[in-house]
Amino acid sequence: MSSSAAGTNILVFACRWCGLIGADAAGRRRTELPVSFRVIPVECAGYVEPDAVIRAFASGAAGVAVLGCHVGGCRFNDANHPALKRLELLRTLLDATGIGGDRLLLGFGTAHEYHQWADTIRAFHKHVAGLPSMASWLPAAAMTGER
């Protein structure tokens, strides 16, 4: 596989009750999206620990998106709200380590916002494609997925 495609690898943690239903609706409307993203369904954005985001970068992701419900509209009583704070804190660490905080995207949508899902994926794909490749400075072991 060409390095340019690997350069846009995006891992999406999508909440099963908002983001993923939006993704489903986008599918039913045959909304064409870039193939660069992979989805890990989670019960709630609150499940996504900062460690998982870092592991995703170490496993070849060039961008990580956490897509949950709107703040105030969480299925699990605002569990996404502390998650948002945690991940915003992580963003500063990503900046400090040189990975870059802009490789982490926090998005919020509701189940019927398929267009929001599509726009988010397209825009983030475009953004990540414009960033320098992660391969040049991550250890080779990381790029083969071994730990």
Binding site: D24, V35, R38, V39, G145
Partner: protein
Amino acid sequence: MAKIGVILCNCFGEIGDTVNLETIRERLASDPAVDVVTLRESLCQPGDAAAVHALIRERGIGKVLLGACSPYGRMEVVRLALAKEGVDVRTVRAADLREGCAWVHGKDPEGATRKAASQLGMEIALLQNMEDSRDIDIRIRREALVVGAGPAGLSAACGLARMGFPVHLVDRGTAPGGLLNIVTKSYPTDDPGPAKLNPLIEEMTRNPLIRFFGKTKVASVKGYAGDFKVALKGPEGSTTLRVGAVVLATGARLLFPQGLYGYGKTKNVITQMEMERQFAAGSVACKSAVFIQCAGARNAERPYCSTICCPLSLKNAMRIVEEVPGAEAWVLHRDIMTPGSVLEAYYRKALQRGVRFIRFDADRPPQVRGDGQVSGVEVFDVLSGVTRSIKTDLLVLSTPLVADPESAALTRMLEIPVDRHGFIAEVYPIHPVETRNDGVFICGTARWPVSSDQALAQGEAAAVKAASFLGRGTASALSMSRVPGPKLGHAQANADTCTGCGNCVAVCPYGACKLQRMGQRSVSRVIKVRCKACGSCAAVCPNGAMQIPEQNYRVTGAMIRRAFREVR
């Protein structure tokens, strides 16, 4: 390790026309965890489930991975059919190859095939690492506690008793009735206030299933849905109960507008409730009564409309006009809120009876004239743009309902949140009488200002919701879900590695994590009934002691490592 069988659905070409299923079959067949990969034209048609079941038996497959549509597509149908065949659907996973792949990457078949292989690989990683939350069954006690015997509480108690559930009805007053006991006439029928409740009170005394505790308070509540341990404190000492559900109908209080429009300093400035007491005593004497609406409501501190004050003023203004000879009534308002056909007709009736209405602006509130004793009100009429002077000898302030501070102790014990005005918060707008704590239901003005008619309806609603829970007899913890279908699992704390830091306790939105003494140290313990498997506790646990077995850290790690294997 259990062998994984992969079944790929072509969906009559919907998937196979874009994703090259043959390529995927070859790739997956080389995966050591995979026993067999088969292609099917469909999975959701008659006979498909039986064929899948036959394959499972024939090959001795322990876990099944379906490559098919999204969980919101036909997957529910497939799972139901498989369950009917006798397949354990908890070991069946599905990767979304249709909505999430073929249908959104139609212009890039090669990329779509790579992505499908990745998503299937991630699900294989999940199946290899997932564990099972051991489910528990809880026994639900077929009894309910109803706190508050106002319109909402009475209606809830009678509703539950009618359905055959023993009810303990607790009120801090000597008799049921709540705020309605104060009013001599209730809107919009103008019947005597408590008369509205007479049929319910009669039912309460007649039905042996309802036990009324007057002058009684709830001293403590412990436990969880299905088994709450309640201690009551009444005139005859303490009583302990064990109930399956709690209905809170604790009501609200009326704001005392200290300092507002001269209240407390100027004579004859009274609240609506004081006026009700004067009517009850049979002596309202005035030449001209002025009602000021939204006194202490719809401002920055209390931005809400209290629902009952406008109809209350209409009723009392009409009473002044009709019952006090020669008296006139003015209502100074910001907006008259009379929703629905009945209340709107009530407003028209007040206009016809000669009640006069003046609209004022919140920025220019009416000024009270008089020294020690009210003599008049000056108000800028925004509709005609002139300042009007009204002679009056009775000023009535329509104050809003505010949360009862006494119910705060109860909400703290039950671990249910209140909104920023102190009213008990519903769990979700689509579950209006349910709270964050399963088995605890709310109705009436405890949750939001409502009229007595609305409170009666909400009491019925809470009774039905409580009954549908109590009637189950037993419930599995996994079925106590806040989402459609069962829960993913429940969190489990590893007592060996838990350091008792309490991060999980702080972050849990349901109060499911509790610190417990274990020898010299504290460890976290999860109340399985309360846990809803959002995973917040696992995300904040500093040493991975807290996990949801179905999606533990090994699952997530393995899925992440496989996510881009196909792209390298």
